[in-house]
């Protein structure tokens, strides 16, 4: 019987990252505990306990965890994890920072970015920016430690019945060599990039932070989240948390619109799972057109305002 420990990611509320990671845990199968770390986590723990198909929620509630730091959390989680066959975390910056540290303390390897479960010890994951898919077998070593590629799993829904919530029996946090100073969150009230159904991204072609507003206008007309290529982020047109791709966010919206993005492999790896990709680029040979479901060769500064106007007419009519 597998016993799976899932490390929850949360802010003030439960994050869809946890609900998607749970789907992967269910594909592995077994008893699933979710551990919620933070300070004053009762509300989040209660919401977590209503996720379908879990056995219990464990909390690690401490002033030390007001801002989760891998170095502080890992020793506590290592003490907890040794009783489990699997330890999972979402493949977000939180999970990627934490899970390898935890795995090393347990002297087990870590498997990054699980995209499919073939058996409780056999997983598929992308390598080389998604240009190859590796099937990896973990064998006998326990626990199996892995991060879960969120775009590959749908979120498990909440239900009425709640699993029990207990406080985890772990040693007191003891690490003081790492201290949180500040978080500059750049998001606004726009839909969150990783769970948005529609995403509009802009590339280097936008030319300036002011002109990047065009991307936002189209996103607003569609109720979409905004993304960006690395070139656009590097140039300062968009904040870093909007970067889509190998080293940014991996997303799977129903609709992805790429404006003035050439389609470098590192960008494409972030959007491969989108249901439909639309590309607007003035270069007919841009590689983005090889993956686009709908391509339009045009100057984006003409096409996008026309598209925004067309969408407005449509919703008015």
């Amino acid at each position: 019987m597998n016993r799976i420990l899932l490390i929850a990611e949360h802010g003030a509320r439960l994050s869809s990252a946890t609900a998607r990671t749970l789907r992967c845990a269910q594909d592995i199968g077994g008893e699933i505990d979710i551990v919620v770390c933070g300070v004053g986590v009762a509300t989040v723990a209660a919401a977590t306990s209503r996720l379908a198909g879990i056995t219990r929620v464990l909390t690690i509630d401490s002033n030390f965890h007001a801002h989760p730091l891998a170095a502080v959390l890992a020793p506590q989680l290592a003490a907890l994890a040794s009783g489990y066959t699997h330890v999972l975390a979402p493949s977000t910056t939180f999970g990627k920072d934490l899970l390898p540290r935890l795995a090393a303390l347990l002297d087990v390897p870590a498997i990054s970015d699980v995209m499919a479960v073939e058996s409780p010890t056999r997983f598929r994951r992308p390598i080389y920016a998604g240009n190859a898919i590796l099937t990896v077998e973990a064998g006998e070593l326990r626990p199996v430690a892995a991060t879960v590629r969120l775009a590959s799993f749908t979120a498990v829904t909440e239900q009425a019945a709640a699993a029990p919530v207990e406080s985890a029996q772990v040693p007191e946090p003891a690490v003081t060599h790492t201290r949180f100073i500040a978080l500059a969150a750049q998001g606004g009230d726009r839909p969150e990039l990783q769970s948005a159904r529609r995403v509009v991204s802009g590339g280097r072609a936008l030319g300036s932070a002011e002109k990047f507003a065009l991307v936002q206008q189209l996103a607003d007309a569609l109720g979409a989240a905004v993304g960006a290529s690395r070139a656009a982020v590097d140039a300062g047109y968009a904040p870093n948390d909007l970067q889509v791709g190998q080293t940014g966010k991996i997303i799977a919206p129903e609709l992805y619109i790429a404006l003035g993005i050439s389609g470098a492999i590192q960008h494409l790896t972030g959007i491969k799972d989108a249901r439909a990709i639309v590309a607007i680029n003035k270069d007919a040979d841009a590689p983005i057109f090889e993956v686009a479901d709908y391509g339009l060769v045009a100057d984006l500064f003409e096409a996008v305002p026309a598209l925004v106007a067309g969408l407005k007419n449509k919703s008015a009519g």
């Binding site: 891998a70 170095a71 910056t93 990627k96 920072d97 899970l99 390898p100 540290r101 935890l102 795995a103 090393a104 002297d107 087990v108 390897p109 870590a110 498997i111 990054s112 056999r122 992308p126 390598i127 080389y128 920016a129 998604g130 240009n131 190859a132 099937t135 990896v136 077998e137 973990a138 064998g139 060599h177 790492t178 201290r179 949180f180 100073i181 978080l183 500059a184 750049q186 998001g187 569609l222 690395r230 590097d234 904040p239 870093n240 948390d241 190998q246 609709l255 491969k272 439909a276 990709i277 639309v278 057109f289 993956v291 479901d293 709908y294 391509g295 339009l296 045009a298 598209l307 969408l311």
Partner: protein, 249 residues
Amino acid sequence: MKRILVAVKRVVDFNIRIRVRPDNTGVITEGLKQSLNPFDEIALEEALRLREKGVADEVVVASIGPPEVQSQLRTALAMGADRALLVTSTVPLEPLDAAKTLLKLVEREQPLLVLLGKQAIDDDNNQTGQMLAALWDRPQATFASKLELAGNTARVTREVDAGLETIEVDLPAVVTTDLRLNEPRFVKLPEIIKAKKKLLEQLDLATLGITPRPRLTAVHYATPAPRQKGVMVKDVSELLTVLTAKGLV
């Protein structure tokens, strides 16, 4: 001696689109251009800048890999590293073994700071720095886009999903680099010639007391299913028509 150790890996150049072997036993790497992992180049650049600012005295680059890695280490020396360590291994190491090997080098070199890339772009693991920090029992600051040393602490801005997080860590510490930390310098010809005289020390795993223990088995490599070729539309109104018809807008 205030020393910075930079871990660098040789990988297939980022511009190359690799292919899977027809028998699905691996990816074809023969004959492909190999380079320093881009994140590691950024790590080295940062170390060099810290030395140039006077907050570090020596920059040592280290790599684990086949003898051919010497060529990438020479590039690192030409960029400005003071000396290089090559731990030869004919088998690729999993991140946990790479971290254990790097720990041996850390014990030998006693660095103030260890810089690594956040991920090697071949296996895309993003693990080694975190594992090294755990085994060394020291702080980690991953995905750094800004790094400042002051006394015996480092202040690091990290690129996280929510935005930019700043943390402070006591030294010695492990820092892994993100893309926007800096733009690596180009190597100039005279430096390439000078680099030939710099010390490149070769070690092997056995001398360091490391017996690599592969724990994961690569069972199968596959080419991802390609996306269906799409259609080109002639103008915005046609685009709007097809998107509406498909229920996408």
